[in-house]
């Protein structure tokens, strides 16, 4: 798993916030949880329908201002509304029904292929080099 740090613009506070981010080359778009999107005042665009493992997933599109190193880009993203119960570890009666850990987007974002495509070739190579020990 490639984990890097990026900064995302917080509209209400007019400043950047640092986020731990998982780079997912299999994701078309960047993705983040609704509770974070709301807090940093991300614009809400039209719905979008995507395929996930076993069926369609309808999400809301947005645009993120993402700073990585010296570059800043406007990148399309999707907002995922995660049930509040999934933002915490599983309780004993939930075992066998869900993973024990909180949902990964509780404290992170996903950087999709569209983020990598906005970067310089050097930055892109540097990030993807994390896959090679």
């Amino acid at each position: 798993m490639i984990v890097i740090d990026v900064e995302i613009y917080n509209h209400p506070k007019k400043r950047y916030e640092l986020f731990e981010a998982v780079v997912d080359t299999g994701a078309t778009f960047c993705a983040l949880a609704k509770h974070i999107a709301d807090e940093i005042g991300l614009p809400v665009h039209e719905p979008i329908h995507l395929w996930q493992v076993n069926g369609p997933l309808t999400l809301t599109k947005t645009t993120l201002r993402i700073r990585y190193g010296k570059s800043e880009n406007h990148v399309d993203g999707v907002i995922v509304d995660i049930a509040r119960n999934y933002l915490r570890p599983a309780t004993p009666d939930e075992k066998c029904k869900r993973p024990l850990t909180p949902h990964p987007l509780t404290s992170r974002i996903i950087l999709g292929k569209n983020f990598l495509e906005k970067l310089s070739e050097d930055d892109r190579k540097e990030i993807l080099s994390h896959l090679v020990p």
Partner: protein
């Protein structure tokens, strides 16, 4: 960037020392530990106070997470 690199390189040790805790790392040292997972905006607020002007990063040190992601 350096603190992120340090976290990634030391994750196996961090899992032993800070299981299922959120840590803030500043200049490659753990400077703050929270129980469980934290809202990243709140972490930024704390880091602004204790890591001002320094290189910093954070992570939720999940012991089991990587076993559960498709």
């Amino acid at each position: 960037m350096e603190s992120r690199k340090w976290i990634n390189e030391n994750l196996p040790k961090l899992k032993e020392k800070y299981p299922n805790k959120t840590i803030i790392v500043c200049d490659c040292k753990v400077v703050k530990v929270f129980d469980g997972i934290m809202n990243p905006i709140q972490l930024n607020e704390v880091a602004r106070q204790i890591c001002e002007g320094k290189d910093w990063s954070y992570t939720f040190v999940s012991v089991e997470e990587e076993e559960y992601i498709l």
